[in-house]
Symmetry: C2
Subunit: 332 residues, 2 copies
């Protein structure tokens, strides 16, 4: 795949500059610390939310900075964790006096660097809680430690962000965030790998007529390669482990996030959503809210990540609250 | 490119079913007439807006049905115009007693079929006005008749939709829509062709290291094939004819719509936006509103369409009005 870009070394700052220029009322980009900070004034005593991760997964996380979601995001290089200095700078901007919640996806570098930043800042007296996002249902429970952080990051940022906005204390916001992770699972499939801007090469080769089952973000391979079936069967494969893990029963209400991986056309993604929804409804599970689009991606991969959250009244109420970020906006 | 799909013959209805299921409060899908209709009640005497075109260019047009934009959309087969019966059914649903405006992109089939539908319905007494969208700046003025309808369709639907929502009469809404077209130009580039779901084949082959200059939607080739330059030069190429044609001068304010063609990652698109914006600002032109994302696409093409609207106070005021559709939403 070819790329619209300049120097491969400035792909990330070029993106961030463009993001801030396109959403001047929503975010500010600080090129020195390479962080993105919300513009909407936060009430004194509002818990701050910070996340970050390897670039290439846009709009994660800078696209979710703004009213009702993150206070600051620290984007790393493509598919590389942000460094502790970035995270510390973001934390200082996000701290409104009530402490900061880190939304950390379960990737080695992110866990380590957010941990280091927290350790240093806590010594300075900053209150920090962390939520570990590990919603990847492609690993069985006995390999739970390897479960990657995927679409649940978006759900956590939305729901915990709404709770922070209404002034809930840090412990409550953190507990809520952990509850969202515990009730969410994601399963991903890819019809192509992606092309890293620095190497210009695909991260793996996939023969025509096959797809990768159980992928994450970052261009890694899945657990298995299988012949590409029709959409209905793809929906079955994606839903099976999610439904089992969440122990979904008739009458349960769910939030569905179906994200394209970056190069999946809307016509295909909505077709897959129709198939997923049919299956949920058939089992008596009610999809009461849904998002379909590019919400967590992997550069120019074709494929999709399906995230399901077992909802309840409190979570839905917070879900519906106003949000105004570059990539998610309603009621504002 | 591989596809997430079932039977190639049901790709369009599967998409529409998914769209309506994901946005149940916003749109209704009528599978018999194959039209998408807004759910938000329209005030009696509101001018109706109808558009449609070949599928494969999502979210055009069904993604723009809702409060503040279209009353109904009629999607054709992939890259094929809707048929007159569809258009007539959409018109009947969109007519709230004050007549209907057709937003017609300058493609042969669309012009013909919207024309036929209008002819028949006018005989029944329905008031219909048409706006022809032909914003493609890649054809020089002497070939104006061949200018395709591109990103200006989104701008027209937003601005004329806001005017209709406030109760302006049909002639006013139509005049405003024509004013938006006259003040908008689009230039497109592609780094890859797209794959038609029925044939499974790319619409053209593009050697690595080259790109197509002056493309539209629908998988057609551009005017020229050139070596792929860095992003800054791509921005120059896209802007040059637009600035010339709109005769933009220092102090002018513009709305910028930069749309990916379907498989362009956000990181590249925002990088291109940064380059476009730098160039406008350097010339004293002020980008006062912008949209960056997949707003008008061509299946799984890589590339972008840049649309610039020479704004004025009235247009900006209407631009800022609330909108609630599947793909564009603010203030609601």
């Amino acid at each position: 795949m070819q790329k619209i870009m300049g120097d491969a070394t400035t792909v990330v700052p070029d993106y961030l500059r463009g993001l801030a220029a396109a959403h001047p009322g929503v975010v500010e980009y600080d090129p020195v610390d390479r962080i993105v900070v919300r513009r909407a004034p936060a009430a004194p005593g509002k818990v701050g939310l910070v996340s970050g991760g390897g670039s290439g997964c846009e709009p994660l996380h800078a696209g979710y900075v703004g009213l009702g979601m993150l206070d600051a995001a620290c984007p790393g290089e493509v598919f590389s964790s942000p460094v502790p200095n970035q995270i510390m700078a973001a934390t200082r901007r996000a701290d409104h006096g009530a402490g900061v919640l880190y939304v950390v996806k379960n990737f080695g570098g992110e866990v380590m660097n957010f941990g280091l930043a927290a350790e240093i800042l806590r010594r300075e007296g900053v209150r920090i809680e962390k939520v570990l996002v590990d919603d990847d249902a492609s690993f069985p429970p006995e390999l739970a430690a390897r479960r990657r952080g995927l679409g649940a990051a978006v759900l956590v940022e939305k729901i915990a962000g709404a709770a922070a906005e209404e002034g809930r204390p840090l412990d409550d916001v953190a507990a809520l965030a952990r509850r969202v992770v515990g009730r969410s699972r994601t399963f991903g499939v890819a019809l192509s790998s992606c092309t890293h801007p620095k190497t210009g090469r695909r991260t793996f080769d996939l023969p025509h007529g096959e797809y990768e089952v159980g992928v994450g973000i970052g261009g890694d391979r899945g657990h298995e390669r299988r012949p590409l079936p029709p959409v209905d069967e793809i929906a079955d494969v994606m839903l099976k482990r999610i439904i089992d893990e969440l122990e979904l029963r008739p009458g349960n209400q769910v939030v569905v996030l179906l994200s394209g991986l970056g190069a999946t056309p809307a016509i295909e993604l909505y077709g897959l959503f129709a198939a997923v929804r049919d299956r949920l409804v058939k089992q008596g599970v009610e999809p009461v809210r849904s998002l379909v689009g590019d919400y967590i991606t992997s550069l120019d991969s074709q494929g999709a990540l399906l995230t399901v959250l077992h909802a309840d009244e409190e979570l839905l109420e917070l879900w519906d609250r106003p949000v105004h970020t570059a990539s998610l906006r309603w009621g504002a």
